[in-house]
């Protein structure tokens, strides 16, 4: 017999077993869920990453205080990457005898590599996207520089020794996010005009940027090469540096998507385990018969192993195909919705799919078969109860190992996988305990009221098993639902439609009163925060400098001055995580942001010394804050007690919301307060909003995949108990039970089962959601009583209806047929 015929024959034999068919379905559906989640996540995350790189102008950005080695560019080009350079330094710009300090941005001809560059030229008053920077001899200025120097396209400016034509007003630059808080207005010039200005010398305080773009794999290879070459002054810019808001949104989305995929896997795992359990029981007799016919354990193992692998292969093929199809459809709708081209998914989800099928079979199915192989055939043939103490433990360990491996496969995060595994085990333990207590309670009640006993579940073990499965399933889904709701709510809260879209800086102390009057007059809400620049010079009387730290971020923080502020009111985007916020009469102390405290290695109670324009102030850290950087409010690393900055040189900063139809307010404001710098962040806001929309959609689509996995478990669990139900219904019918009686029993049992699973699941879900929300997503804890009611009712209705519908066909079959079937 050739190999193919053997496989075909074996498959035909196996296919006859209903459990094998169900197992294939369960396996294929889990592979579908995992691959579809993987494909969708891949595409959406890729799209989100793409948008993020647009915000920084390239896939990879190298920044340096010294001109970097041009060899970096040559190497990148030789690898097929696109490159661009940007050089930035402050300089005076002169126009019609007016002077203004500006940020000069020198760009190469192919800048930007990613993201949109928009300008408004003389001929038209509408912004349009352009593919490259200004031509040689031309310069672009931003609206602020245009306003302060009365510059219009067609005018000329002096920049050092060079004279340049103003060609256009630049309205949007890709790396605006990065530069949102550079207070000077911007002038953009071509790199070939730089030398003629004579401005850039070795002593200039300039920042050099190399931008790279290309295929993700090439970028990855190049990044690792580049990292090995980096000098002290050079570093690779990450998203976090410039756009904590975007980074946070991205991290939250990834965290959620990973979690949703993990839960899908756990749910699918439960379905496989259930089916395997029934399959093991079904196979027991044939294994015993084969043994009596002389088959050795090794032969049996080989035989079963082969058919298991056949199952894995078939399930993988079907699952990957279906998963790809689903992501294709989903991708189509997502693309319509978000109006963005979605990149194609990678091959990894397909490999994860195969791995999932393999691990699931190995972890959940094989132990049951092993157990049958190792059982003495007479025990099986004579239907003797066998105690599988050791084998039972192996089965549990193997299933847990399988779950852990699957979770790791999804998240690549050992710690997160462990947390979820432990939570799942605790949940299973809790559900088992609840089920046992509840059964006892039901039996106690039933004993007291006659004619109710027959309503009790006929099979205690099955009731407990189903309660654990439904409980765990509901728990996963409810948990995910509440997380999803929280997450999306949190995002829309963090960027309400009237979130500030302009920052106003440089408001002088003497302008404070008039400015507040102006704001009230124009009905703008504006909280003014004092801002003083100071350098951190000592921690606990030990002087500190950049050289004391190895961490790049720490070095950078100490190289520049901090923006210190002082306020009595803690804004909503700040949360105290340690210590106490200033009370009404506090006149000393500092509140610091937690990441910066961690980076620089100080904490509550430490004394920090700042040099503020030659004056030294020393204060103790009295609180540590967590800051939501995506709130678009002015936020500070260091806030001093109210009044501490009173006598020190300072300016004020605020953020305001100006609706698009009131844009005329800006020129009025500039007229009245010429010294105030207005920073328009609506473009960044729009970009951040776009990303959040994508992330929300991703969350919704992945969530629906998890729901499907949940329904699969429900189906598998119901199918797994159908055989034993069949026999019970037959016996009851032969004893004279009417259909209505049986129906009442079934609906009662399933509803009680579902209601209880939902109740326990909701309670547990609220507890875990709060823990994880705080741990993973940095959200506030919340109690949701509606979830408990929803969990119980939805569980009772869903399981009651699905359970009854699943066994309803059995009610119609004549009892003699049921008996014949169950005896088979």
């Amino acid at each position: 017999m050739n190999w193919f015929t053997m496989i075909k024959q074996q498959w035909r034999q196996r296919w006859r077993l209903p459990e094998v068919r169900l197992m294939l379905l369960a396996l294929a559906l889990s592979v579908t869920a995992v691959t579809a989640v993987g494909f969708v996540t891949d595409r959406i995350i890729f799209a989100m990453m793409g948008q993020a790189t647009e915000l920084q102008g390239g896939d990879l950005v190298l920044t340096s205080a010294r001109p970097p080695d041009p060899g970096y560019l040559q190497k990148a080009q030789s690898m097929g990457l696109a490159t661009a350079t940007v050089t930035q330094f402050p300089s005076m710009v002169v126009a019609s005898e007016k002077l203004q300090l500006a940020q000069v941005k020198v760009v190469s001809s192919n800048y930007p590599l990613k993201g949109a560059l928009k300008i408004r030229s003389q001929s038209t008053n509408v912004s349009s996207a352009v593919g490259s920077g200004p031509a040689v001899g031309n310069a672009w200025v931003d609206p602020r520089l245009s306003a302060s120097l009365d510059l219009l396209p067609g005018n000329v400016v002096e920049l050092g020794k060079n004279v340049l034509n103003i060609d256009a007003i630049v309205t949007q630059m890709p790396d605006q996010g990065v530069n949102a808080f550079q207070f000077a207005p911007v002038i953009v010039i071509n790199e070939h005009d730089l030398e003629a200005t004579g401005l850039l010398t070795a002593a200039s305080r300039a920042r050099f940027l190399f931008l790279f773009a290309g295929e993700p794999e090439t970028i990855e290879r190049y990044t690792s090469w580049l990292k090995a070459q980096l000098k002290v002054t050079e570093r690779i810019r990450t998203l976090e540096d410039g756009m904590p808001a975007v980074q946070q949104a991205l991290e939250r989305a990834q965290g959620f998507l990973g979690l949703a995929a993990l839960l899908s896997v756990i749910l699918a795992g439960a379905a496989i385990a259930l089916t395997s359990h029934s399959l093991g029981k079904r196979e027991a007799k044939s294994i015993a018969i084969l043994k009596t016919l002389g088959a050795t354990q090794k032969e049996l193992l080989w035989r079963l192993g082969q058919s298991q692998m056949l199952l894995v292969a078939a399930a993988s093929l079907i699952g990957i195909f279906a998963g790809f199809l689903i992501q294709f459809l989903l991708g189509f709708f997502i693309r319509q919705w978000i109006q963005t081209e979605l990149p194609l998914p990678g091959i990894t989800p397909a490999l994860v799919g195969i791995g999932t099928a393999f691990i699931m079979t190995l972890g959940f199915s094989t132990p049951f078969l092993f157990r049958q192989i190792s059982t003495a055939p007479m025990n099986v043939l004579q239907d003797r109860p066998v105690k599988h103490t050791v084998a039972g433990r192996v089965t549990i360990l193997s299933a847990l190992g399988g779950v852990y491996l699957l979770m790791w496969l999804q998240s690549h995060d050992l710690k997160l996988s462990l947390i979820i595994l432990v939570a799942t085990v605790i949940a299973i333990g809790l559900f088992t305990l609840t089920a046992i207590i509840l059964l006892r309670l039901l039996k106690y009640i039933a004993r007291r009221y006659r004619n109710t006993r027959h309503l009790l579940p006929a099979d205690n073990a099955r009731f407990i098993l189903l309660l654990v499965i439904f409980g765990t399933g509901f728990f996963s889904l409810l948990h995910l639902t509440s997380l999803r709701t929280d997450l999306i709510q949190r995002w829309s809260d963090s960027l309400p439609t009237n979130a500030p879209n302009h920052f106003l800086v440089n408001i002088q102390p003497e302008e404070r009163e008039t400015f507040s009057g102006f704001a009230v007059n124009k009905q703008i809400s504006a909280d003014l925060y004092p801002m003083t620049r100071g350098r951190l010079v000592a921690i606990n009387a030990n002087s500190v400098g950049p050289d004391d730290y190895t961490d790049d971020r720490a070095k950078r923080l100490l190289e520049r001055e901090f923006n210190l502020s002082s306020t009595a009111r803690l804004s909503n985007s700040n949360k105290i995580v340690a210590g106490q916020w200033f009370s009404a009469d506090t006149r000393s102390g500092l509140s610091v942001e937690e990441d910066i405290a961690k980076t620089l290695g100080f904490g509550l109670g430490d004394r920090l010394q700042f040099d503020i324009a030659g004056q030294r102030i020393t204060e103790q850290v009295t609180s540590i804050r967590k800051v939501r950087w995506d709130s678009m409010e002015p936020n500070f690393f260091v806030i001093t007690a109210p009044g501490l900055l009173e006598d020190l040189p300072k300016t004020f900063i605020t953020s305001i919301y100006i609706p698009t139809d009131r844009h005329g307010l800006i020129p009025q404001l500039i007229d009245e307060f010429p010294g105030v710098t207005v920073i328009d962040i609506s473009a960044i806001m729009q970009q951040v909003r776009g990303m959040i929309d994508k992330a929300s959609l991703a969350v919704q689509s992945v969530f629906s995949m998890t729901l499907i996995a949940g329904l699969l478990v429900l189906y598998a669990a119901l199918q797994s108990q159908r055989r034993s139900r069949q026999k019970e219904i037959a016996i009851l019918k032969s004893l004279g039970a009417r259909k209505r009686q049986i129906r009442t029993m079934l609906i009662f049992e399933f509803s009680i089962l579902g209601g209880l699973s939902g109740l326990v699941a909701a309670i547990f879900s609220i507890a875990l959601s709060n823990y994880l929300a705080w741990f993973l997503f940095e959200m506030e804890p919340a109690f949701n009583p509606g979830l408990i009611a929803f969990g119980s009712v939805a569980g009772a209705v869903l399981v009651g209806a699905a359970g009854y519908l699943n066994v309803r066909p059995l009610l119609r079959v004549p009892p003699i047929l049921l008996l014949n079937q169950s005896a088979r």
Partner: protein, 235 residues
Amino acid sequence: MNDNNPSPVIVTTTLGKSVITSDQQSLTILSEINMNIQAGESVAIVGASGSGKSTLLGLLAGLDSATSGSVELLGHKLEPLDEDARAQLRLGRVGFVYQAFNLMENLNALENVMLPLELDRTVTEIDQRALDALCEVGLEHRLNHKPGQLSGGEQQRVALARAFVTQPEILFADEPTGNLDAATGREIIERLFSLQQQYRTTLVMVTHDDQLAARCDRQLHLAEGRFLEQIAGQQ
């Protein structure tokens, strides 16, 4: 309960059963079965494997529907009755003992015996009656054991207790000793006949054991779906 005047509790007229096979052919399992069984009588239906014994038993008990002819059980024609009405007819009046015991796996002995009583809302003292029934079969020390913890003989004794607990008018037994060793089989048969006598229950038993069949008042021989007497008559 039976009255003292014997009257037929089961009557069949030209009863037949055929099924459609997987290749769409009609296969006749039973045909032209005419019989009368009187109250309190014990009847053995004997015949080789595949002769249609169990199918006949199922039809007589209303667990299956005939394709031709009719069955009258306890004075009711079964054909016009739907499944529920047939179940209602059986409730408390018909008991079963099967070769494969057919106990509820996860109910203990006492709960298994209580089951038919619980299905009938008019019955009282369920616990006591079930307990008495188990005592009668000598299982008072195994009340809380589940079928998996009982021997084959013990399981069949639980099945007997379950069958007799409602003091049924008719007991259908399908190869009741088929899964038991000879000694245990004998013990079960002794108990079965003793209970049958005690409650004057009509017994319809399917068996291929001639000795067991000989203990019944009457034997009906089935071959190829028909009674041998009928075959002989036709020849």
